[in-house]
Symmetry: C2
Subunit: 101 residues, 2 copies
DNA sequence: TCGATTGTTCGAATTTATACGAACAATCGA
DNA sequence: TCGATTGTTCGTATAAATTCGAACAATCGA
């Protein structure tokens, strides 16, 4: 896990990219979980999807500036980049988290 | 233009579907225009995209419950379903329209 | 050092979205 | 009725997203 993780500056994330990252049922579930609980490992879902798929979705969220991944031993702990995302897209995450599916 | 247009009940539109409809630069432009001005015809864009493409994007927005299309002579006039959409997804459209690209 | 744990990367298959020309349909005005 | 206007539908081509197994990499504890 040598290469440093790329956490984009939110200024470089477009609205379309942010919406696309959120426009997936699996990723919505991840975001909802991450909103409830910090420091989720990437395998928080592995009863449902294979790990290569999970890894893909975490990456999409990371590249859209929605989550920050911090290495912690053999895992990576994930947390929403709430403040930064809210500053870039005010109200968006709130409305997504408030919406019923 | 005989077949009646399908305007879904917002209760049947999922969050993922709504987000996917919005997660496209062309459709974001359309939604922004429609938010500024009611009764846009479908060809409001035709300097930029061919009409079959425009028709496609209007349909995606319609099926996501974002716009209502009303036949008016040879054209179809489009308007945002603001109230209904806001009720189903409170704050979502506001945040999208407020965001800079 | 060995094995277990955690997650990434690669490659490929499948699915889905986008784009657009051509033909068609509906309406209106002359 | 004819032609112009407006938009849909169809077919197809291209691009992008999703999925997943297999192999690999990094860390930790025994």
């Amino acid at each position: 896990m040598a290469p440093p993780l790329r956490h984009p500056d939110l200024r470089h994330v477009t609205l379309a990219q942010a919406l696309a990252a959120l426009a997936d049922p699996v990723r919505l579930d991840i975001v909802r979980m991450a909103a409830k609980k910090d420091d989720l490992p990437c395998n928080a879902f592995l009863q449902a999807i294979p790990k290569s798929t999970a890894s893909h979705h975490w990456r999409v969220l990371r590249e859209a500036g929605l989550i920050r991944q911090e290495p912690e031993g053999t895992q990576k702990l994930n947390r929403l980049r709430r403040k930064e995302f809210d500053k870039r897209f005010p109200g968006l995450l709130d409305s997504v988290l408030r919406a019923k599916r």
